[in-house]
Symmetry: D2
Subunit: 451 residues, 4 copies
């Protein structure tokens, strides 16, 4: 706990710092001079910034560029991005000559010269932009813009690659700080949690309190020291006595709070990425791993780390199976399956058997499990443990997965081996219950080829 | 002040965090198994780390590598470095094919493919090493080792380049935090200040207190959030009523303290880089710039920002001039110039005239000012303002510069223009007093060609 | 601002401490054994605590007493209080003998012996109770119980006096810490602000954010280091360009935010005491004084410090006047005065004239102004500056004061003199506008004798 | 540990606050107008402060009084104290009339009226003085002055009683905060530790580091939130594997550090009160108790809590015994007992036997153990466990106790019972070794009657 507490204190201060920086910035904000805000002007400034030999004068140049950028509309941004993607690349002539030199006399140093020639000045430009106060958050927002515009402007890809490269380097695990979030966290931070919760949405402050204040609930986030007011990713945890099989029960407002020390199970029931501009810079695996460590240290009697996860692609897959002629899937879709249908009903059993198939055998075009959440947890070394019938009866839960949810088990003793088996052989490690459901299902109906 | 205070609070917490991490690490430290510590084993682990697809399992691998590395002797380190420099480079075949593709169909995306092919896997390896707790400081130490071994092993250059590249990116100005250091700073931090002071050494805690506790003295450092207990660079400042011309007077233990608000001059009298492993990653310019901002905000009545700086190359240059036949230099060297010689004595005037020449006209082989301190401040946009006669009568001050020191003036209004003139035209901007000294000197004796 | 920031940081940590103490306490909480909880048992323990010579063993005794006390119902509490009020008083025989000794040989030391004999052991008991962790807050709650029960049990007065005496000493201004409250304050603290707001109630988190987040809004509280999670009193401030005359306008959700530095007026529009157990231990005067200092330091261009205050007794007074035969009051009550009636309408003018009379001339049985809010601000040295027509059109505002509000002006230059004139001579210092309203009103209708 | 960490963080901030307050105060310091500084003037101001009805105007009056007081010399201070002791007492007439009323109609409320009449206005005056910023520390210093002057001015006793009364109430255990002190504590705080260490003096910063930095050394202090930069009392602890019997060994600079988790014994080897102005307001018992709790929580495998304490009165008592004709004592004093004399030597055995008698049987005039340190620890419920031969061979150790030291054992299981036996029956609980030494000694020589 001490560790988490210290991180909390650190983060409070860090967030405070940023908040004030922003506040300070706001007061001093000077409107960009009209006429100066066009993308051409920005590209000129970018060239000046790259040419600048004094680092510290670069700071104000960087500030100006980021300010002017923020004022551009999408057309302007696209034009600016386009300029960065076309210009600011490496000099082909320099590469050619370095490569020729290498071929003439190969060796590590000659190869290093090729590397140097091939690095796009764009990267140095982005590094210099980062010198301005608050620039890291600005660059994350800039990448969010870029990712949004990219589908329609595939030529921006080189710029996107350079930005991704830098952000991966800067948001390295070694620089992230774990922060516990609870009911005594700053309100503005909690407001962000409400906004960013992507799995089971939070609609009121009272609902948020129910997830943060009880001693059998936890929430942790990663933040980066350069933008500590912004959670990068967060996970919500319920401390329980048994592996939960219903999100309704977990989120019920009226329930008996468990004395934290009596818990045997830590259930991760929601994990949300917060920054669209950091898509592809993955934190989830590190976060779960560290939270498992924190909780183990604080509650030595915890025995089981498990998730209660959605199955976002199940219904879509089921419909595709039916359309492709799978008889069991067609039967299941024709079933009337009310929310109070007991798990032992043949209609429930049918769906569970199909779900077992969905998790254990269905693959996408690249040979990976169809379910994206399964890919994440299996890739982390968890095993798919159990299917939970009518575990999420919210409209979203019913429409995407007929109310089904899944427990993924994080067993520290087997994480490594599972991870290897999955990443190397594509093997899906599963618990006995779900394997049995697959077996039962296999016998109960003819099975179509896997999609 | 508020800004500085917040940074101080932030840093206290950050430092506390690291301190405990280290303490925690110490208790848990497991000795590497014998036989596993050879450089070959490390290179194997490094390959495994690069091949690892699970990020989080990489963390413990990275931890092991850094621990084993720390236990190597110089021979082992050299062998490990050598393995990294030779292997872990880019794949020439991949570059070749990417380059061929570019030549066949040039364009930004084809060029980006060349960039990608040319990036050495070494860089990714170093980034993965950084995921371990405390790794950033370890990598800085690793680079210090590398720089030490480099002169005898020039083939390690490619590795050094990759490491420099990464550290420049990670120690970007945008990530640094300014920290005020005073007599209420943690003792372990102050112990480091004593150790790192490179200009006017600190011999006792009482001497340290004299530089930190009085209200007319300040000290600021940059730190990085990933190793906040380690100052990267620090500057010591005296608040005075007039531009100081003697380090003895500034450092006198018995002196009348100035009410801080009455100061008109902020004199930077010592600036020390602390991390050999960050040589070449420059912070000085940013630090001075930010400290000027901090002090201006706190003491609006400050009018002058100036240094009291050593002239480390003066005596050596003077002797070279004399050896090269410069009559005035020969005359000066023959002079008996006791420490209490008044500035108006012809012998003092001679030396000052030569010093003016040293600063204003002497150039090194690359056309730059001979004096390294001058290069730093002129490059920052300061102007060389005034020579101070017998300003440093310590043995070091006398032996390297005949007791001479220099004031460089940081005038916010002209920094930018000075910097441009210096970096573009090589023009040395100087104050009237030193220009006069040059002029007087020119007439008083025949002047040899500038070295 | 620095001052406020530091206090904020201090308070964050303090609150954190208490929160955890409570959390820790909760986990360890042992239910009092049944049968042990009666008030008689508590009085026994209290006697043991008083008799205890080892201070540190007293701590656990104190803990037990406070825990058992908290479990009592009102009957039990009354009995416990009664025991404390009857027993635990000074020993009359000891007083008698000390007094006799004094009379025999008067002098300061003999008098001191009387003082000592007259101090009730109850006070020492209460001091010893305070040694338990979290006890200060417990004692404040205990006094709240006592004040609640007192009206029906006047014999508890001696106990109440002793408790008041101690709390006044412990909540001395010198021990209080100012804390700025804003949108980055901990959510649990903000929840308390919502609950404690006594003047213009806050109904949603969004409404709270509107009072805390904009740069032209401020909120400050006093807390005590021994119970820092509990605000004692807080004040809400609007930074404006002119003295506000409508609470509706101030609290409007949709309004243009003012750049804080452009403000000329700081308007205190709500001040709420939070702790019923500290009734009679007054903080308001100190809080306003310190907030004026804080704001002056942060915004040197602020010129005016003023309140926008309710007139809670106006309507009741008006009805009493009418009932007593005051013709103007009768006329006014007969008026139909809709909310959009312009201030210049004779009906408005009538009410304003009566209000001027209410503030400037009406006195209660003890010769003090009738209005309790007026008594507070006048006692602080403020002057009653201006009446605001239809300034609070909430149901509460209309029913208690026909929508009227008042500006009290805090002019640092005259506070002292005003305060003296008011406390010594009972003089009510008033601004020209309200004096004019009184004059106008006096001529417009016959005036009844002041109540 | 978490608890300690939080306290540390809290204290850092608190100390920072005070430091700045002092710094701020220093800059703004206005010299008292000449002629206004006499004690008469102060007494006038004190009367004004008491008469003041506005609390907040009292603040500046209090500030002035404390400032003027600080500028007085001892004559002035004595006169001021004298004025406070003579005037500012309760009004005898009021007591008389309240007492008469009580006698006429006895009852709790009438008694409360006597209490009220008997409280000296002096106490209210002191409470009002405390409203000024930093006043609590000023009042502690004022009491230090008073205690210093008291022996020559016994008539100041009533004032001293009132001040003590208040400080006891304000420095109640419930308000104190435990602070861990280590090598990362602020230098100015450590400077105070060096200055205040009263048992085994610290002569250099390196010696201080040896007591703070190793993981098998701890130091804890109590501070008060109103003067957090000032330790009130601190204790130094060594974590060891066996009960230590030599202070030389504990303080040796060159020694092998123990892994903290391997410790089985926590040895309190120095405890120092820091504030002369708080003499008689005892903290030691609380401090030891809480440190035992902290250490137990952090190191669950600690089994023994013990002191290594001086025997400051032993030599003096021995000489008195000899002078009174005690044969064994005379023999012992005649012995030549060099520092390297083994414990088994008859000369050592003689001294140890006498020491056992000193601790177990010698009583002062009030029937208490002669040794003041023994009184403190026995009063806390510790037992005198063992005598340590030549445990302190410093000049001070040799001269006051012939090199002897003592272990007092703090056994949580028996503290309460021991304490009761000691405070109620005067029984001295002792360990078997020391009882044996007494027995051996009794037989080895005729024993004089206990002093």
């Amino acid at each position: 706990m001490a560790q988490v507490d210290r991180m909390r204190a650190l983060l409070d201060v860090l967030i405070d710092r940023t908040r004030r920086m922003i506040a300070g910035g706001r007061e001093r904000k000077v409107l960009p001079r009209p006429g100066g805000a066009g993308p051409e002007r920005l590209l000129d400034l970018a060239r000046a910034l790259l040419g600048e030999r004094s680092q510290s004068s670069g700071v104000s140049l960087a500030k100006d560029i980021l300010k002017l950028y923020a004022a551009l509309n999408d057309t302007g941004k696209t034009a600016f991005f386009d300029g960065l993607a076309r210009g600011f690349g490496p000099d082909p002539a320099a590469i050619e000559s370095a490569w020729a030199a290498y071929q003439a006399a190969p060796g590590p140093r000659a190869l290093a010269a090729v590397t140097e020639a091939a690095e796009p000045p764009r990267q140095e430009l982005l590094r210099r932009l980062n010198q301005a106060p608050g620039a890291t958050a600005d660059l994350v927002r800039l990448r969010a813009d870029l990712l949004r515009l990219l589908p329609d402007h595939p030529d921006l890809t080189p710029l996107e690659q350079d930005l991704t490269h830098l952000l991966r380097s800067w948001f390295n695990r070694g620089f992230l700080v774990l922060r516990r979030i609870d009911w005594s966290s700053p309100a503005d931070l909690l407001e962000r949690i409400i906004r960013y919760e992507a799995v089971h949405s939070i609609t009121t402050w009272a609902a948020l309190r129910d997830r943060l204040q009880p001693q059998d609930r936890r929430c942790y986030a990663f933040v980066h020291p350069a933008m500590p007011e912004e959670p990068l990713i967060f996970v919500e945890v319920a401390l329980t006595t048994a592996i939960p099989n219903s999100i309704q029960a977990l989120l019920a407002g009226q329930r008996t709070e468990l004395v934290a020390g009596a818990a045997r199970v830590a259930a991760f029931y929601s994990i949300s990425n917060c920054q669209p501009g950091l898509a592809g810079v993955s934190f989830g695996q590190f976060l779960i791993k560290q939270v498992v460590e924190e909780l183990s240290a604080e509650f030595p009697r915890l025995e089981t780390f498990v998730t209660l996860s959605p199955a976002p692609g199940f219904r879509r897959w089921l419909e595709a199976q039916a359309a492709a002629g799978d008889a069991l899937a067609q039967l299941a879709l024709a079933d009337d399956a009310p929310m109070d249908l007991p798990e032992t009903d043949p209609r429930a059993a049918r769906r569970l058997a199909l779900a077992a198939r969905y998790f254990l055998t269905a693959r996408d075009g690249r040979g990976r499990p169809v379910d994206p959440v399964a890919r994440f947890h299996l890739g982390n070394g968890a095993r798919v443990e159990r299917l939970c019938w009518m575990a999420d009866t919210s409209p979203k839960g019913l429409s995407q997965a007929d109310g089904l949810m899944v427990n993924y088990l994080y067993d520290p003793a087997t994480l490594e081996a599972n991870h290897d088996a999955f990443t190397r052989e594509g093997e899906i490690i599963a618990g006995p219950a779900i394997r049995r459901a697959l077996r039962d299902g296999s016998t109960s109906a003819p099975r179509a080829a896997t999609a």
